[in-house]
Chain length 734, copies 2
């Protein structure tokens, strides 16, 4: 791109400080510098869910990495030099790093500019269902515990890269690896005071996201600001260090959970206090708490529940919407308590799970309408494959153990915005080429393939005949974006509807040309024929040419928009998704009692995918998710001291390698969801949810101690062994 | 583009030769060469209208410039060196350069491989209407003459550039500045044996075409062959010399024409023998003869006509589909004879024209249904503005003269292929941004602006709200391509239909939200309001968001396909276009009798544009066309000796410069065509048609001599003056 400049960002070295002044004059005068932006010379408005963030901070910095200023220069070296010439005068402020300290009203206020805030509590969400007090009184067994998770990173191999370019007429094009291009466009315009209609967002091929690229980030706005000021296109590439420090993470969530059951193992209640440590600013990621709440109230049948959530601000880098979105954290708590409860009852944890398993046609306390549910079958499969009945509780001598965990997760979109819809257009040209223009975004998860297969199936053509286009807001119809494992379900339904319309148009032409009513036509492999008359047949390419190449002819074009039949929740009640996914894992571990080192020997998984549109892609999603879940369980952690990430690099971060991941056994359970395209449900996140819980339970089975937090690194496990950390059984009348 | 190679072509230095052998071995071994292709190592099938052409010639070469072999190498220097290493053994053959010689059966056969060919006659077209013999007998005045035109070039400032790249999965993407992307895709696949469905054609911004980039050329195929063989992307850029030698030109056409009229100046007949010199191969360009035929039979009301056309092969570079497509050539003959006839009758040529002018509701002898026609008004305007009545025939003392010419040309598409249709999609997003995805192609003529205006008008929104996308076969709906001045009319109607559908969808939502029936709603500047209730109003952006951001919501998407209500001609009869454009020019010249130098002093023009969607663009098309017409008239010519273009460069070719073009007065006559979008008709070619004829008539008025061919360069005009070349009046009983 001709005239492309390099962008670079000056970030705060302090976790909490007031900015007395910023002096950019020396930087501006450096030869090769085309623009220097800071809060004092740009137009910007607060963005983010709580409108608590600004691309460039002018009043305060709130974490180490907060954006202060940026430059666009002819090369990286010049840009770096220019950053060094910017002088910032800070007044250091006391900081708060612990979410429980942040709950205290006397903690240093991080967002004193937001008038309605109660100290550092960004949000509080309370949910009550049934009579918890009565259930608690009735319970034969009650277990209680605290369960915590660390700050983790999506750690996609490709870092964030943004290019922004203004046309001479003021039209802005942004290339950014986001997965919610239309929302991105809106937020860009709102924040920068740009005309929303004069912006095109192009999503180039994405080198991994896992949710890390869902939200619009300060560097996105900053790149546009630089291009605007420099009147030249600007590219901003985050270094790996910037990626760890300056982009969104999986927020630590702390659970205090009590679960009670009757003497037969029937669940009676859950009571949870949840504190999320969301860092300096709030985005969609804060809503990971909603998913955590769903798991507390709806994983297994829970007649009564009480949930108290608080999202706190701390002076740390901030939480985002990472794969699983609060569910690995919540499942770590809930599924440990399932086994703690079973152990207290002297029952097999699988039996307890099966007794309480969600079933089709259930409506959960939060109003989630379960259309299809293979939880029971998933549990039975992993129970059998792992040799659970013969081996669980019987391997401790060999320092081995088995542990299980299951999950519920949205599998048919998630209505968290006014629309959860997606548009699709299908056209068939004179070549017979079928093009799907989908609103959805491909992030490497294989959704283009799945969508092409759906169109091919609906139109009865070979897969190669279908081309999928989905990268540019100018071209594609609206879609809310990739989140909540929704693409196959929502974009798939839209694609299927448009494909059906296109097919019907072709059938109509075929009826005319083959002189047979539509109900006597059959399509096989892209050729329409008349039933019982093999002579009368015509392939799609010829059909569409015959339709086109005549007076008053036309090609085939069809559009569809699918918005799933779901509800915006009110007071945390409502059917948020059109379908729900389920699954179960069993992990087998070996624990070295002297070092606390945990070796994962086996992971058996079974997932209710509704219908496996592409079994290999489903397996890939589950294996990839499980590998990330194993990383969360055993090694991944952003170690933060006084707000500073100790080692922002891939090696120290603890991403699992091939040697850390055993063979993962994947079973696909097809429940054929009534609303899913050909019965499919989302499976993008399921795999990551159970491993930490299953591994924790396996460690408990192997050692008798009870993990309280992940990652369960050796020194932590050794500590639990040394202190004999155990399950807390509040009551056991069974 | 990473790994991009440079392509280069080896062309024949001989006008006609048999190829005994081609040896590429030395070229292949040159370091840096990735592929060498020739007829012996590629798959190719004949292409072109007569299937008489191959990308790489294996048997014979038929003109100087014919493609023999090509290389792909790491850089231009290496490619050039490799070409020099290719050894070709030729057996020279006698050649034919003159089309009249080519008509002789004893001329050396150029396409001896085509069995059904009658010598070097590629095609013969005969048309008869009415009783010419009776008309001739009845005529009071008959004039007769020969009128010729040279080989000319479209001479776009940008030369042809093609890039071809195969994906790892075999999908081919070609970037090429063509204007018929879907036809291009088909021909590419047919010739190279590629799967038509696995090809994407992307039209980048085009630096001028004027028809020169309509057809697929050998170099297009060759670039793909090179990319296929090299397994790397290849870019081929034609040099200016290659552009003149190796791409299509405006074919010379020779007319022998007789016209007769009664004593009152009413036309009685035309009798034409037309020979086109189409060069070595036949493309769509050979059909320029069809337009020439239209002009003979249908320019003014002509009760009887006889046309004999022959398209000849010669050993010269070949004819294409250049702006005006045979019409400047035919009008040069027809409109000179109108003034010759008037002069013989002693009548004013304008009066003769007006007496015979086509009128609305006329059906011409070839079946052209004239829906709207402003010819009379156009003639009256230029007559008045030029001071015709006072000045014509009265300036000879000052060596000055006035001459006029008018034209008829297709203005509502031209059905020369099974479909003359175009698709359109309109979508409205949550921003209120309106996107038109049009099948049409933008070549710099401003069609994107015109289409955006049509959508804006139909939807009642400001122009800035509409974005036009039209460059990629994967994205855009089918369209036959840019030819025959059809884009505003055909693509405009398609865009209008889709826009109307989108608007109606928005009105339906507005009716629901504003609680008023649709017939009480009015849209002003993108805001829908209830008549007589200024409080109840909502802009499109808000409407579409309200429509979208609700349960079961949707955005707005609409598709349309417009195929004009026209007929494929049978035996040259049928209504080929849905509308016809008309116009008239008057030129004023000064001729230096000593040198023959012609100076164009004034050009008054009036064009029936139906409706000027964008008056400035209409004026631009007319001025640009007229400037090209002035070039044809006075200076442009590919001078060819023994088949060799003497000086293939822009300077010697004789493109007119700013100093050669006087102020052009443009009048837009709006006849509001009943089928055009908002009444518009095509205007892309009109401007180029009359100037040569008008200037020839002005020279005749200034000097008394009669020009027989263009370009009317000084030495030719001087020759006519010296030999007293005059009109030939066969009979004058008036």
């Amino acid at each position: 791109m001709s005239g492309l400049l390099v962008g670079a960002i000056l970030r705060s070295p302090h976790p909490h400080a007031r900015i007395r002044s910023i002096d950019i004059s020396a930087a501006e005068q450096l030869p090769g510098v085309h623009a220097v932006v800071h809060a004092g010379n740009v137009e910007q408005r607060p963005f983010g869910y709580n409108h608590d963030n600004l691309p460039l901070k002018g009043d305060k910095v709130r974490f180490i990495g907060d954006e202060l200023a940026a430059v666009a220069a002819i090369d990286e070296e010049t840009a770096r030099q220019a950053l060094e010439l910017i002088r910032v005068d800070y007044e250091l402020l006391p900081a708060v790093f612990d979410p429980f300290e942040a709950l205290d009203e006397s903690s240093p206020p991080i967002h004193d500019e937001l008038p309605d805030l109660e100290g550092n509590v960004a949000m509080r969400w309370d949910f009550d269902h049934g009579d918890v007090a009565a259930a608690e009184a009735e319970a034969a067994v009650i277990v209680e515990g605290t369960y915590s998770s660390p700050q983790a990173a999506p750690a996609a191999i490709e870092t964030h890269v943004v290019i922004a370019a203004f046309d001479p007429d003021g039209h802005l094009t942004v290339w950014s690896p986001v997965h919610m291009v239309f929302m991105y466009r809106k937020e860009l315009a709102d924040c920068l005071g740009l005309d929303w209609q004069q912006i095109t967002i192009i999503q180039p091929p994405v080198g991994g996201s896992f949710g890390g690229k869902i939200d619009i980030d300060p560097h996105d706005f900053i790149t546009v600001m630089l291009a605007r000021k420099a009147r030249r296109p600007v590219r901003l590439v985050l270094s790996r260090e910037d990626e760890f420090i300056g982009t969104r993470t999986r927020q630590p969530i702390h659970f205090k959970l009590r679960t009670g059951a009757d003497a037969e193992g029937k669940l009676l209640f859950r009571d949870a206090e949840i504190v999320s440590d969301n860092g300096a600013y709030n985005g969609w990621g804060s809503h990971a708490m909603l998913v955590a709440m769903n798991t507390i109230t709806s994983m297994y049948r829970v007649p009564a529940s009480r949930v108290r959530c608080a999202v706190t601000y701390t002076n740390k880098n901030y939480g985002g919407s990472v794969r699983g979105f609060g569910n690995p954290q919540a499942t770590f708590a809930v599924e440990q308590q399932m086994e703690e409860l079973a152990d207290a009852l002297g029952m097999d944890p699988m039996d307890v799970r099966l007794r309480n398993a969600n079933q089709p046609a259930d409506v959960t306390p939060q109003g989630m309408e379960i259309t299809s549910c293979g939880l029971t079958e998933c549990l039975q499969i992993v129970r059998e494959q792992s040799g659970w009945d013969e081996r669980r509780g019987k391997l401790r001598e060999r320092h081995r153990g088995l542990g299980a965990a299951a999950y519920i997760h949205v599998g048919g979109g998630a209505r968290i915005y006014g629309s959860d819809g997606c548009g699709a257009m299908v056209k068939v040209d004179d070549s017979g080429q079928i093009t799907l223009i989908s609103g959805s975004s491909e992030l490497g998860q294989g959704s283009e393939t799945a969508l092409a297969m759906i169109v091919a199936e609906e139109m009865h053509v070979p897969l190669e005949a279908v081309h999928v286009i989905n990268s540019n807001t100018d071209v594609k119809p609206w879609d809310v974006g990739v989140h909540a494992s929704r693409t196959t379900f929502v974009a798939g339904n839209a694609a299927r509807m448009a494909a059906a319309d296109a097919r019907d148009q072709l059938l109509e032409t075929a009826a005319e040309l083959l002189e047979a009513p539509v109900d006597r036509l059959r399509i096989v492999d892209g050729t329409v024929g008349v039933v019982d008359d093999p002579e009368r047949r015509m392939d799609y390419a010829r059909l569409v040419r015959r339709r086109l190449l005549r007076e008053q002819g036309s090609v085939v074009m069809a559009t569809a928009f699918y918005d799933p039949p779901t509800e915006m929740q009110k007071e945390y009640r409502g059917n948020i998704s059109a379908a729900y996914g389920f699954g179960a894992h069993v992990a087998e571990v070996e624990v070295d009692p002297d070092t606390g080192m945990v070796r994962l020997l086996n992971l058996w998984t079974a997932h209710d995918v509704g219908r496996a549109i592409n079994p290999m892609l489903c397996e890939g999603q589950i294996e990839g998710g499980a590998a990330m879940g194993i990383g969360l369980a055993l090694s991944e952690e952003l170690v933060i001291f006084d707000g500073r990430i100790a080692a922002p690099n891939l090696h120290d971060y603890g991403l699992p390698t091939a040697l850390d991941v055993p063979r993962i056994v994947v079973n696909l359970v097809e429940t054929i969801d009534p609303r899913g395209p050909f019965g499919a449900k989302g499976i993008g996140e399921g795999g990551i949810i159970p491993p930490a819980a299953a591994i924790a339970n396996a460690i408990a089975d192997a050692t008798g101690i009870r993990p309280r937090e992940y990652p369960m690194r050796p020194w932590k496990v050794k500590g639990w062994i040394d202190t004999q950390e155990r399950s807390i059984v509040v009551r056991n009348d069974a």
